[in-house]
Amino acid sequence: MLSDKELIEVLKKRLEQAQKNQELVEEQRTELQLVNGKLAESEALKSHFISNITNEIVNPFASILGLSKNIIASKDSDIAKIKSMAELIHSEAFELDFQLKNIFTAARIEAGESSPEYIKTDINLLITSIISAYKYKAEQKQLKINFSFELGKEFETAHYFRTDPEKLKLILSNLLSNGIKYSNAANKIEVKAWVENRTLKVMVKDYGIGIDKKNLELIFDRFKRVDSSINSLNPGHGLGLSVTKALIDLMNGDIEIASKRHIGSIFTISIPESDSTENDGYALDGNEFIFGDSDDEVF
Protein backbone atom coordinates (compact mmCIF):
# COMPACT_ATOMS: atom_id res chain seq x y z
CA MET A 1 0.00 0.00 0.00
CA LEU A 2 1.22 3.46 -0.86
CA SER A 3 0.71 6.29 1.49
CA ASP A 4 -0.93 9.39 0.15
CA LYS A 5 2.37 11.18 0.15
CA GLU A 6 4.07 8.43 -1.87
CA LEU A 7 1.16 8.35 -4.25
CA ILE A 8 1.45 12.08 -4.86
CA GLU A 9 5.18 11.67 -5.39
CA VAL A 10 4.65 8.96 -8.02
CA LEU A 11 1.98 10.93 -9.78
CA LYS A 12 4.20 13.98 -9.80
CA LYS A 13 6.99 12.00 -11.40
CA ARG A 14 4.68 10.61 -14.04
CA LEU A 15 3.37 14.06 -14.80
CA GLU A 16 6.90 15.37 -15.21
CA GLN A 17 7.73 12.50 -17.52
CA ALA A 18 4.65 13.18 -19.60
CA GLN A 19 5.59 16.82 -19.87
CA LYS A 20 9.09 15.92 -20.95
CA ASN A 21 7.74 13.61 -23.59
CA GLN A 22 5.50 16.28 -24.88
CA GLU A 23 8.39 18.69 -25.14
CA LEU A 24 10.30 16.09 -27.07
CA VAL A 25 7.43 15.55 -29.45
CA GLU A 26 7.12 19.29 -29.89
CA GLU A 27 10.81 19.55 -30.64
CA GLN A 28 10.65 16.83 -33.24
CA ARG A 29 7.58 18.36 -34.76
CA THR A 30 9.30 21.71 -35.31
CA GLU A 31 12.25 19.86 -36.79
CA LEU A 32 9.96 18.02 -39.18
CA GLN A 33 8.18 21.21 -40.11
CA LEU A 34 11.53 22.75 -40.91
CA VAL A 35 12.55 19.88 -43.16
CA ASN A 36 9.15 19.89 -44.77
CA GLY A 37 9.44 23.58 -45.52
CA LYS A 38 12.82 23.04 -47.09
CA LEU A 39 11.49 20.21 -49.24
CA ALA A 40 8.62 22.38 -50.42
CA GLU A 41 11.06 25.15 -51.23
CA SER A 42 13.30 22.81 -53.15
CA GLU A 43 10.34 21.51 -55.11
CA ALA A 44 9.31 25.06 -56.00
CA LEU A 45 12.86 25.86 -57.08
CA LYS A 46 12.90 22.78 -59.23
CA SER A 47 9.78 23.68 -61.16
CA HIS A 48 11.01 27.25 -61.52
CA PHE A 49 14.24 25.83 -62.85
CA ILE A 50 12.49 23.73 -65.43
CA SER A 51 10.57 26.67 -66.86
CA ASN A 52 13.79 28.69 -66.86
CA ILE A 53 15.82 26.03 -68.56
CA THR A 54 13.22 25.48 -71.24
CA ASN A 55 13.72 29.06 -72.37
CA GLU A 56 17.43 28.76 -72.28
CA ILE A 57 17.51 25.70 -74.45
CA VAL A 58 14.69 26.65 -76.80
CA ASN A 59 15.84 30.22 -77.46
CA PRO A 60 19.40 29.45 -78.56
CA PHE A 61 18.11 26.68 -80.78
CA ALA A 62 15.59 29.04 -82.36
CA SER A 63 18.34 31.53 -83.18
CA ILE A 64 20.71 28.83 -84.40
CA LEU A 65 18.03 27.47 -86.71
CA GLY A 66 17.03 30.92 -87.95
CA LEU A 67 20.57 32.11 -88.53
CA SER A 68 21.68 28.98 -90.34
CA LYS A 69 18.62 29.21 -92.54
CA ASN A 70 19.65 32.76 -93.43
CA ILE A 71 23.16 31.60 -94.25
CA ILE A 72 21.86 28.89 -96.55
CA ALA A 73 19.64 31.43 -98.33
CA SER A 74 22.32 34.13 -98.64
CA LYS A 75 24.36 34.88 -101.74
CA ASP A 76 28.05 34.14 -102.13
CA SER A 77 28.88 37.83 -102.19
CA ASP A 78 27.52 38.39 -98.68
CA ILE A 79 30.58 36.90 -97.04
CA ALA A 80 30.83 39.54 -94.30
CA LYS A 81 27.20 39.06 -93.35
CA ILE A 82 27.59 35.28 -93.41
CA LYS A 83 30.62 35.54 -91.17
CA SER A 84 28.84 37.64 -88.57
CA MET A 85 25.92 35.22 -88.56
CA ALA A 86 28.30 32.30 -88.13
CA GLU A 87 29.82 34.11 -85.17
CA LEU A 88 26.39 34.48 -83.62
CA ILE A 89 25.66 30.80 -84.19
CA HIS A 90 28.94 29.91 -82.59
CA SER A 91 28.27 32.03 -79.54
CA GLU A 92 24.75 30.61 -79.09
CA ALA A 93 25.97 27.03 -79.53
CA PHE A 94 28.90 27.63 -77.19
CA GLU A 95 26.61 28.83 -74.43
CA LEU A 96 24.20 25.97 -75.05
CA ASP A 97 26.97 23.41 -74.89
CA PHE A 98 28.27 24.88 -71.65
CA GLN A 99 24.84 24.95 -70.01
CA LEU A 100 24.07 21.39 -71.06
CA LYS A 101 27.38 20.23 -69.61
CA ASN A 102 26.39 21.80 -66.29
CA ILE A 103 22.99 20.17 -66.38
CA PHE A 104 24.33 16.71 -67.22
CA THR A 105 27.04 17.01 -64.59
CA ALA A 106 24.47 17.99 -61.97
CA ALA A 107 22.35 15.01 -62.97
CA ARG A 108 25.32 12.65 -62.71
CA ILE A 109 26.35 14.01 -59.33
CA GLU A 110 22.80 13.65 -58.13
CA ALA A 111 22.68 10.05 -59.33
CA GLY A 112 25.97 9.33 -57.60
CA GLU A 113 27.63 8.40 -60.84
CA SER A 114 30.27 11.05 -60.65
CA SER A 115 33.68 10.06 -59.36
CA PRO A 116 36.97 11.72 -60.19
CA GLU A 117 39.22 10.20 -62.84
CA TYR A 118 42.70 11.39 -62.09
CA ILE A 119 45.32 11.78 -64.73
CA LYS A 120 48.42 13.92 -65.13
CA THR A 121 47.26 17.24 -66.44
CA ASP A 122 49.09 20.17 -67.93
CA ILE A 123 47.39 22.93 -65.95
CA ASN A 124 48.88 25.76 -67.96
CA LEU A 125 47.55 24.31 -71.20
CA LEU A 126 44.17 23.52 -69.65
CA ILE A 127 43.60 27.05 -68.39
CA THR A 128 44.90 28.63 -71.58
CA SER A 129 42.49 26.56 -73.62
CA ILE A 130 39.52 27.56 -71.44
CA ILE A 131 40.45 31.22 -71.71
CA SER A 132 40.79 31.03 -75.46
CA ALA A 133 37.38 29.35 -75.65
CA TYR A 134 35.92 32.34 -73.83
CA LYS A 135 37.88 34.88 -75.85
CA TYR A 136 35.01 35.64 -78.16
CA LYS A 137 32.52 36.10 -75.33
CA ALA A 138 34.94 38.36 -73.50
CA GLU A 139 35.53 40.45 -76.64
CA GLN A 140 31.80 41.03 -76.95
CA LYS A 141 31.96 42.90 -73.65
CA GLN A 142 35.39 44.36 -74.44
CA LEU A 143 36.88 42.49 -71.53
CA LYS A 144 40.52 41.61 -71.22
CA ILE A 145 41.48 38.34 -69.57
CA ASN A 146 44.92 38.33 -67.98
CA PHE A 147 46.36 34.95 -67.09
CA SER A 148 49.47 34.24 -65.06
CA PHE A 149 50.74 30.86 -63.97
CA GLU A 150 53.35 30.57 -61.27
CA LEU A 151 55.09 27.29 -60.81
CA GLY A 152 55.86 26.10 -57.34
CA LYS A 153 59.36 24.95 -56.46
CA GLU A 154 58.38 21.32 -56.66
CA PHE A 155 57.28 21.90 -60.21
CA GLU A 156 60.66 22.91 -61.52
CA THR A 157 60.95 20.03 -63.91
CA ALA A 158 57.44 19.42 -65.10
CA HIS A 159 54.23 21.23 -64.44
CA TYR A 160 51.98 18.23 -64.57
CA PHE A 161 49.43 18.01 -61.85
CA ARG A 162 47.44 14.87 -61.11
CA THR A 163 43.79 15.82 -61.15
CA ASP A 164 40.56 15.27 -63.05
CA PRO A 165 40.92 17.58 -66.07
CA GLU A 166 37.30 17.33 -67.20
CA LYS A 167 35.96 18.37 -63.83
CA LEU A 168 38.56 21.08 -63.39
CA LYS A 169 37.66 22.41 -66.82
CA LEU A 170 33.99 22.71 -65.94
CA ILE A 171 34.81 24.34 -62.59
CA LEU A 172 37.01 26.96 -64.21
CA SER A 173 34.60 27.47 -67.12
CA ASN A 174 31.87 28.26 -64.62
CA LEU A 175 34.03 30.74 -62.74
CA LEU A 176 35.19 32.41 -65.93
CA SER A 177 31.71 32.47 -67.42
CA ASN A 178 30.36 34.10 -64.26
CA GLY A 179 33.25 36.55 -64.24
CA ILE A 180 32.42 37.60 -67.78
CA LYS A 181 28.69 37.63 -67.15
CA TYR A 182 28.86 39.87 -64.09
CA SER A 183 31.68 42.14 -65.23
CA ASN A 184 31.09 45.69 -66.25
CA ALA A 185 31.96 46.28 -69.90
CA ALA A 186 35.43 47.36 -70.97
CA ASN A 187 37.15 46.04 -67.89
CA LYS A 188 39.40 43.13 -67.14
CA ILE A 189 39.37 39.70 -65.53
CA GLU A 190 42.42 38.32 -63.80
CA VAL A 191 43.14 34.62 -63.69
CA LYS A 192 46.05 33.47 -61.57
CA ALA A 193 47.11 29.89 -60.96
CA TRP A 194 49.77 28.58 -58.65
CA VAL A 195 50.71 25.47 -56.74
CA GLU A 196 51.55 25.35 -53.06
CA ASN A 197 51.94 22.29 -50.86
CA ARG A 198 50.80 20.04 -53.70
CA THR A 199 47.58 22.00 -53.91
CA LEU A 200 46.50 23.75 -57.05
CA LYS A 201 45.09 27.20 -56.48
CA VAL A 202 43.29 29.18 -59.13
CA MET A 203 42.00 32.67 -58.58
CA VAL A 204 39.46 34.35 -60.83
CA LYS A 205 39.01 38.04 -60.13
CA ASP A 206 36.48 40.30 -61.80
CA TYR A 207 35.64 43.96 -61.46
CA GLY A 208 31.90 43.55 -61.74
CA ILE A 209 28.71 43.95 -59.79
CA GLY A 210 29.90 41.86 -56.83
CA ILE A 211 27.83 39.96 -54.30
CA ASP A 212 26.21 41.22 -51.12
CA LYS A 213 27.55 39.75 -47.91
CA LYS A 214 24.17 38.29 -46.95
CA ASN A 215 23.97 36.47 -50.25
CA LEU A 216 27.41 34.88 -50.16
CA GLU A 217 26.11 31.74 -48.50
CA LEU A 218 23.25 31.36 -50.92
CA ILE A 219 25.15 31.36 -54.16
CA PHE A 220 26.14 27.71 -53.96
CA ASP A 221 22.53 26.61 -53.53
CA ARG A 222 21.06 24.87 -56.47
CA PHE A 223 18.91 26.92 -58.84
CA LYS A 224 19.31 30.03 -56.71
CA ARG A 225 20.05 33.29 -58.33
CA VAL A 226 20.71 35.90 -55.77
CA ASP A 227 19.27 38.92 -57.48
CA SER A 228 16.19 38.12 -59.48
CA SER A 229 16.30 41.49 -61.23
CA ILE A 230 19.48 40.36 -62.95
CA ASN A 231 17.49 37.67 -64.64
CA SER A 232 16.32 39.97 -67.38
CA LEU A 233 19.81 41.23 -68.13
CA ASN A 234 21.84 38.09 -67.78
CA PRO A 235 20.47 34.71 -68.57
CA GLY A 236 21.32 31.84 -66.27
CA HIS A 237 19.67 29.21 -64.18
CA GLY A 238 21.76 29.27 -61.05
CA LEU A 239 23.12 25.80 -61.55
CA GLY A 240 26.71 26.76 -62.35
CA LEU A 241 28.01 27.49 -58.89
CA SER A 242 26.23 24.58 -57.24
CA VAL A 243 27.82 22.26 -59.79
CA THR A 244 31.16 23.98 -59.22
CA LYS A 245 30.89 23.45 -55.48
CA ALA A 246 29.80 19.82 -55.83
CA LEU A 247 32.69 19.05 -58.19
CA ILE A 248 35.18 20.72 -55.87
CA ASP A 249 33.80 18.70 -52.95
CA LEU A 250 34.17 15.57 -55.02
CA MET A 251 37.87 16.31 -55.45
CA ASN A 252 38.30 17.21 -51.75
CA GLY A 253 38.93 20.81 -52.65
CA ASP A 254 37.72 24.10 -51.38
CA ILE A 255 36.37 27.37 -52.74
CA GLU A 256 36.62 30.82 -51.21
CA ILE A 257 34.90 34.01 -52.19
CA ALA A 258 35.76 37.57 -51.40
CA SER A 259 33.34 40.05 -52.82
CA LYS A 260 32.17 43.60 -52.49
CA ARG A 261 29.06 45.01 -54.05
CA HIS A 262 29.85 47.17 -57.11
CA ILE A 263 33.57 46.51 -56.79
CA GLY A 264 33.95 42.91 -57.84
CA SER A 265 34.46 39.34 -56.74
CA ILE A 266 37.41 37.05 -56.21
CA PHE A 267 36.83 33.31 -56.41
CA THR A 268 39.73 31.14 -55.30
CA ILE A 269 39.66 27.38 -55.61
CA SER A 270 42.11 24.95 -53.98
CA ILE A 271 42.34 21.41 -55.24
CA PRO A 272 44.78 18.96 -53.67
CA GLU A 273 46.81 16.82 -56.01
CA SER A 274 45.57 13.26 -56.18
CA ASP A 275 47.88 10.55 -54.92
CA SER A 276 46.47 7.88 -57.15
CA THR A 277 48.88 6.28 -59.56
CA GLU A 278 46.31 4.36 -61.51
CA ASN A 279 43.30 5.62 -63.33
CA ASP A 280 40.91 3.85 -61.02
CA GLY A 281 42.61 5.51 -58.08
CA TYR A 282 43.12 4.70 -54.42
CA ALA A 283 42.59 6.94 -51.46
CA LEU A 284 45.50 8.30 -49.49
CA ASP A 285 46.08 5.33 -47.27
CA GLY A 286 44.29 2.84 -49.48
CA ASN A 287 47.43 0.97 -50.47
CA GLU A 288 48.66 0.41 -46.97
CA PHE A 289 46.24 -2.43 -46.46
CA ILE A 290 46.64 -5.69 -48.21
CA PHE A 291 43.84 -8.12 -47.81
CA GLY A 292 44.51 -11.79 -47.56
CA ASP A 293 46.46 -11.93 -44.29
CA SER A 294 45.23 -13.41 -41.05
CA ASP A 295 43.57 -10.41 -39.46
CA ASP A 296 40.91 -9.93 -42.09
CA GLU A 297 37.43 -10.06 -40.70
CA VAL A 298 35.08 -11.78 -43.08
CA PHE A 299 31.42 -10.83 -43.31
Binding site: V35, K38, L39, E41, S42, A106, I109, E110, A111, G112, E113, S114, S115, P116, F220, D221, R222, S242, K245, A246, D249, L250, S276, D280, G281, Y282, A283, D285, G286, F289, F291, G292, D295, D296, E297, V298, F299
Partner: protein, 162 residues
Amino acid sequence: MKSSEKNNLLKSHYLYPAALFAEPEPHMVDTILGSCVAVCLYDPVKKIGGINHFMLPFWNGTGLASPKYGNIAIQKLLDKMLALGSEKKNIQAKVFGGGEVVETKSNLFRIGERNIEIALKMLQEQKIHITAKSVGGTLGRKIRFNTETGVVLMKLIQKQHS
Protein backbone atom coordinates in the same frame (compact mmCIF):
# COMPACT_ATOMS: atom_id res chain seq x y z
CA MET B 1 45.47 -17.38 -50.12
CA LYS B 2 43.66 -19.13 -52.94
CA SER B 3 40.55 -17.06 -52.56
CA SER B 4 42.37 -13.77 -52.53
CA GLU B 5 44.25 -14.75 -55.67
CA LYS B 6 40.97 -15.38 -57.38
CA ASN B 7 39.64 -12.10 -56.05
CA ASN B 8 42.47 -10.25 -57.70
CA LEU B 9 41.16 -11.38 -61.05
CA LEU B 10 38.00 -9.38 -60.60
CA LYS B 11 37.83 -5.82 -61.78
CA SER B 12 38.50 -3.49 -58.91
CA HIS B 13 36.79 -0.25 -58.14
CA TYR B 14 37.62 2.33 -55.52
CA LEU B 15 34.44 3.80 -54.10
CA TYR B 16 34.75 7.44 -53.16
CA PRO B 17 32.76 9.02 -50.38
CA ALA B 18 29.32 10.18 -51.52
CA ALA B 19 29.41 7.83 -54.49
CA LEU B 20 27.59 4.60 -55.11
CA PHE B 21 28.39 1.57 -57.20
CA ALA B 22 26.23 -1.17 -58.71
CA GLU B 23 27.23 -2.88 -61.95
CA PRO B 24 26.10 -6.11 -63.57
CA GLU B 25 29.69 -7.42 -63.88
CA PRO B 26 31.41 -8.73 -60.76
CA HIS B 27 33.78 -6.30 -59.07
CA MET B 28 35.91 -5.96 -55.98
CA VAL B 29 34.88 -2.67 -54.43
CA ASP B 30 37.18 -1.06 -51.88
CA THR B 31 36.32 1.81 -49.64
CA ILE B 32 37.49 3.39 -46.42
CA LEU B 33 35.05 4.44 -43.74
CA GLY B 34 35.36 6.70 -40.74
CA SER B 35 32.08 8.07 -39.52
CA CYS B 36 30.65 7.37 -42.97
CA VAL B 37 28.50 4.32 -43.44
CA ALA B 38 28.50 1.89 -46.37
CA VAL B 39 25.53 -0.31 -47.10
CA CYS B 40 26.33 -3.38 -49.23
CA LEU B 41 23.32 -4.88 -50.96
CA TYR B 42 23.66 -8.37 -52.38
CA ASP B 43 21.32 -10.51 -54.42
CA PRO B 44 22.35 -14.19 -54.06
CA VAL B 45 19.96 -15.23 -56.85
CA LYS B 46 21.35 -12.98 -59.56
CA LYS B 47 24.80 -12.86 -57.93
CA ILE B 48 25.09 -9.12 -58.14
CA GLY B 49 25.86 -6.53 -55.53
CA GLY B 50 25.95 -2.81 -54.98
CA ILE B 51 27.42 -0.52 -52.37
CA ASN B 52 27.13 3.10 -51.27
CA HIS B 53 29.22 5.31 -49.02
CA PHE B 54 27.35 8.12 -47.37
CA MET B 55 28.68 10.85 -45.14
CA LEU B 56 25.64 12.39 -43.49
CA PRO B 57 22.28 10.91 -42.50
CA PHE B 58 19.80 13.30 -44.10
CA TRP B 59 19.62 15.54 -47.07
CA ASN B 60 18.68 18.91 -45.60
CA GLY B 61 16.91 20.17 -48.69
CA THR B 62 19.64 22.50 -49.92
CA GLY B 63 22.32 21.79 -52.47
CA LEU B 64 22.25 18.70 -54.64
CA ALA B 65 20.32 15.71 -53.36
CA SER B 66 23.40 13.58 -53.72
CA PRO B 67 24.19 10.14 -52.28
CA LYS B 68 26.34 11.99 -49.79
CA TYR B 69 23.23 11.69 -47.64
CA GLY B 70 22.02 8.39 -46.22
CA ASN B 71 18.35 8.70 -47.03
CA ILE B 72 19.22 9.46 -50.66
CA ALA B 73 22.09 6.98 -50.97
CA ILE B 74 20.17 3.97 -49.68
CA GLN B 75 17.13 4.64 -51.85
CA LYS B 76 19.30 5.19 -54.93
CA LEU B 77 21.28 2.02 -54.32
CA LEU B 78 18.12 -0.01 -53.91
CA ASP B 79 16.69 1.53 -57.09
CA LYS B 80 19.85 0.55 -58.93
CA MET B 81 19.69 -3.04 -57.72
CA LEU B 82 16.08 -3.27 -58.84
CA ALA B 83 17.03 -1.72 -62.20
CA LEU B 84 19.70 -4.42 -62.57
CA GLY B 85 16.93 -6.99 -62.27
CA SER B 86 17.05 -7.95 -58.62
CA GLU B 87 13.89 -8.75 -56.77
CA LYS B 88 13.52 -6.96 -53.50
CA LYS B 89 12.70 -10.11 -51.57
CA ASN B 90 16.08 -11.61 -52.53
CA ILE B 91 18.20 -8.67 -51.51
CA GLN B 92 20.34 -8.92 -48.38
CA ALA B 93 22.26 -6.15 -46.68
CA LYS B 94 25.53 -5.74 -44.81
CA VAL B 95 26.24 -2.51 -42.99
CA PHE B 96 29.66 -1.09 -42.08
CA GLY B 97 31.16 2.04 -40.60
CA GLY B 98 29.78 4.82 -38.46
CA GLY B 99 32.70 4.95 -36.05
CA GLU B 100 33.17 8.05 -33.94
CA VAL B 101 36.63 8.59 -35.29
CA VAL B 102 36.84 12.19 -34.23
CA GLU B 103 36.50 12.36 -30.49
CA THR B 104 34.02 14.93 -29.35
CA LYS B 105 32.37 15.76 -26.08
CA SER B 106 29.29 17.21 -27.69
CA ASN B 107 26.64 14.71 -28.59
CA LEU B 108 25.20 17.17 -31.06
CA PHE B 109 27.24 15.65 -33.84
CA ARG B 110 27.24 11.89 -33.29
CA ILE B 111 27.46 11.65 -37.04
CA GLY B 112 28.55 8.02 -37.01
CA GLU B 113 25.71 7.00 -34.75
CA ARG B 114 23.13 8.89 -36.78
CA ASN B 115 24.48 7.41 -40.00
CA ILE B 116 24.10 3.90 -38.57
CA GLU B 117 20.62 4.71 -37.33
CA ILE B 118 19.33 5.84 -40.73
CA ALA B 119 20.87 2.81 -42.45
CA LEU B 120 19.29 0.29 -40.08
CA LYS B 121 15.99 2.11 -40.07
CA MET B 122 15.68 2.43 -43.82
CA LEU B 123 16.65 -1.21 -44.39
CA GLN B 124 14.07 -2.28 -41.85
CA GLU B 125 11.43 -0.12 -43.50
CA GLN B 126 12.26 -1.68 -46.85
CA LYS B 127 12.12 -5.13 -45.21
CA ILE B 128 15.64 -5.96 -46.31
CA HIS B 129 17.34 -8.55 -44.14
CA ILE B 130 20.64 -7.46 -42.60
CA THR B 131 22.90 -10.52 -42.69
CA ALA B 132 25.96 -8.88 -41.13
CA LYS B 133 27.13 -5.61 -39.70
CA SER B 134 30.13 -4.04 -38.10
CA VAL B 135 29.25 -0.57 -36.96
CA GLY B 136 30.14 2.02 -34.35
CA GLY B 137 33.18 2.02 -32.15
CA THR B 138 35.98 4.52 -32.45
CA LEU B 139 38.02 3.07 -35.30
CA GLY B 140 37.86 3.52 -39.03
CA ARG B 141 37.30 0.57 -41.32
CA LYS B 142 38.57 -0.52 -44.67
CA ILE B 143 36.28 -2.88 -46.50
CA ARG B 144 36.47 -4.89 -49.69
CA PHE B 145 33.17 -6.05 -51.14
CA ASN B 146 33.03 -8.86 -53.66
CA THR B 147 29.88 -8.12 -55.63
CA GLU B 148 29.80 -11.63 -57.08
CA THR B 149 29.82 -13.56 -53.81
CA GLY B 150 28.58 -10.88 -51.43
CA VAL B 151 31.54 -11.52 -49.14
CA VAL B 152 33.00 -8.50 -47.38
CA LEU B 153 36.52 -8.43 -46.01
CA MET B 154 37.11 -5.85 -43.33
CA LYS B 155 40.05 -4.43 -41.48
CA LEU B 156 39.85 -2.01 -38.59
CA ILE B 157 42.18 0.92 -39.02
CA GLN B 158 44.22 1.33 -35.87
CA LYS B 159 44.70 4.86 -34.61
CA GLN B 160 48.06 6.29 -35.45
CA HIS B 161 49.89 7.60 -32.44
CA SER B 162 52.39 10.23 -33.35
